[in-house]
Symmetry: C2
Subunit: 125 residues, 2 copies
């Protein structure tokens, strides 16, 4: 498929797909006239790239991890595996952080609701 179709299938803009390629996250074969062509595999790959992006990984980091989804255990797999473990830990830490923040928000909301109750009681009582 050409880039427009990949874009519409993945919901990622054409511009971003080209950027991903520029950053080494995505490859394409070129037709004789220079147009990019992709296989169905790329749909899944782009989805995974998006997943990592929303997890807060930078394109550079993603580039370091993604090769092993293509050909697992190439010579660079040791470093990649370590990198993945490291990002996994960072992710775990971030998740914990977000949960604490959510708890803090919950607390804040409870305080607000309680305060609102206090305001209401004098009127009701």
């Amino acid at each position: 498929m050409r880039i427009g179709e990949l874009a519409s299938r993945t919901g990622v803009s054409v511009r971003s797909l080209r950027y991903y390629e520029e950053q080494g996250l995505l490859t394409s074969t070129r037709s004789s006239s220079g147009q990019r062509h992709y296989t169905d595999n790329e749909v899944e790959r782009v989805a995974f790239i998006q997943r990592l992006y929303t997890a807060g990984l930078s394109s550079r980091t993603i580039a370091e991890l993604l090769p092993c989804t293509e050909s697992p255990s190439t010579e660079n797999s040791d470093a990649a595996l370590e990198r993945m473990a490291q990002e996994r830990d960072r992710l775990s830490a971030h998740i914990g952080d977000l949960i604490r923040t959510r708890d803090a928000l919950d607390g804040l909301m409870a305080v607000n609701r309680a305060h609102r109750e206090q305001l209401r009681v004098p009127l009701a009582g």
Copy 2:
């Protein structure tokens, strides 16, 4: 305290503190010569701002939520409470997303480790 002390206590740069004020996240009293002065409360407030920042909230969103930490249940509390609930949900969704991504990373690592085992067995066997 002055801005430098607040910065070193919170680990946030002086530049960022001034930016927070510019965005309405933080207030300060000014000395006659124009220097910002803060109370100990601001230390905690800055920490909370940081917490929300790392949770992915924008300064504009934070500005909408933070007033209710100061004076809970002012007239705008209805909107603020709704905004908080909304951000809480967004946060929950994001947490779920991150957990799924972590799972995907775990799967990837498992595949890589398995592949490595496969490589080792022929040598060991």
